[in-house]
């Protein structure tokens, strides 16, 4: 069930998380960092092809954007992407204001909006039928925030974000499918690989 379709602001095409994640990953040629949020966003990131610059969250629901902000501040020359579910973002709407204030040029955020908490049983979020997350982002000060109309538009918005002089947020409406893969749940290994991938650590 996806009551979100009734919200007029979100009359964009219903896409698929794994397909969009694969499209994003296929574009990455410069060791860009990608932070996948709790559950499905990081499962699909894992399934789209493991890269050393991927970080997979195994908990801390809602912190994909803050973690990505930290990476972006530490490495201003590297492009940082963050993938977050709509339910997760609702936990940290305040982080949108923090990001708007710090305005890192190298941060692109993607909100995968299925209107539900898919992984816990597909219950609708409190926002599903009434709120527009992209409008919330704009009102939080993230001026470069928009809904992707379809897959081509998503790719265009990703490309556009690379040249942007501030942070970008892209909302995508997605179906109610679960994630495709399952991340290996080894937090120390995930963190160490990520730090190697970011050039912060050297191999032993």
């Amino acid at each position: 069930m996806n009551t979100a379709t009734k919200t007029p602001a979100r009359n964009t095409k219903v896409m698929n998380r794994f397909d969009l994640t694969s499209r994003l990953v296929a574009k990455l040629k410069n060791e860009e960092a990608v932070v996948g949020g709790i559950g499905n966003t990081n499962f699909d990131l894992w399934a789209a092809g493991h890269r050393p610059q991927n970080f997979y969250m195994l908990g801390s629901m809602g912190l994909a954007f803050p973690i990505a902000l930290g990476v972006a501040l530490a490495q201003p020359k590297r492009r940082v992407f963050a993938l977050e579910g709509d339910g997760s973002l609702l936990m940290q709407l305040g982080s949108l204001s923090t990001i708007a204030t710090l305005a890192p040029k190298n941060l692109t955020m993607v909100v995968m909006d299925n209107g539900i908490y898919q992984i816990t049983g597909a219950q609708p979020t409190p926002a599903a039928a009434v709120s527009d997350l992209v409008a919330i982002a704009v009102a939080s000060g993230l001026r470069s925030s928009s809904w992707a109309a379809d897959e081509d538009d998503f790719e265009r918005l990703i490309d556009q974000s690379l040249a942007s002089d501030g942070p970008t947020l892209i909302g995508v409406r997605i179906d109610d499918k679960p994630g495709t893969g399952a991340t290996r749940r080894d937090p120390v290994h995930i963190r160490e690989r990520f730090m190697l991938g970011l050039g912060v650590r050297q191999p032993l």
Binding site: A33, V35, F55, M57, L58, G59, S60, M61, G62, L63, P66, I67, A68, L69, G70, V71, A72, L73, A74, Q75, R78, Q92, L93, G94, S95, S97, T98, T101, L102, P187, V188, I190, R191, F194, M195, L198, G199, V200
Partner: protein, 185 residues
């Protein structure tokens, strides 16, 4: 000349204050990123961090968000510390148990202690009692700092230990150190 002398004695006075010690020790240990949710007691520290271009310091909406930010920054090669009060710490059990501890990320936390030694708000006193049990339940390193003469040693060594052992640490700043917040209406 007289002005320069005045300023240098002012400077050394603030270096010997608890907040001067925090600022100098963070700097010496290359801890640059300092997000915070404010507390009255932390005001002079926050003000001086903002005034010093070495630091990137800013407010966040929640303490959890600040822990996420410094965790990401650490993985990207930049050290950070989070400033908060006791009630802010009380919101962190989830992020500590699911991010900082299992991923072995040295999150440095400076917690202004409310809720004890003259607390006037019963709710604050109760929140304070949840802090050490949470830290102990995760076997996290923590110290309660009460004395100015020990403070530099504790904070400097704790930062170094957090970084080298890749473990988070909480430094609880007692009212005995900071003066705390007293009932003023």
């Amino acid at each position: 000349m007289a002005l320069a002398e005045d300023q240098s004695s002012l400077k050394s006075a603030s270096e010997k204050s608890w907040h001067g010690i925090v600022l100098q020790t963070l700097k010496r240990n290359e801890v640059r990123l300092v997000p915070y949710v404010p507390d009255r007691v932390l005001t002079p520290l926050i003000k001086n961090l903002h005034a010093d271009p070495f630091f990137t310091t800013f407010p966040t909406a929640r303490e959890e968000e600040a822990v996420g930010i410094v965790s990401g920054a650490w993985m990207g090669g930049m050290r950070g510390a989070v400033l908060m009060q006791t009630s802010g710490f009380a919101t962190l059990a989830n992020v500590l148990a699911s991010l900082a501890v299992p991923y072995q990320i040295p999150v440095i936390m400076l917690v202004s202690e409310r809720g004890t030694l003259g607390e006037f708000n019963y709710g604050q006193a109760l929140v304070c009692r949840t802090m050490r049990p949470v830290l102990d339940s995760l076997a996290m390193e923590h110290h309660t700092v009460t004395r100015l003469d020990e403070f530099e040693f504790i904070i400097d060594r704790s930062i170094k230990q957090a970084v080298t052992t890749q473990a988070p640490v909480a430094l609880i700043l007692s009212p005995l150190l900071t003066g705390g917040k007293v009932f003023d209406k």
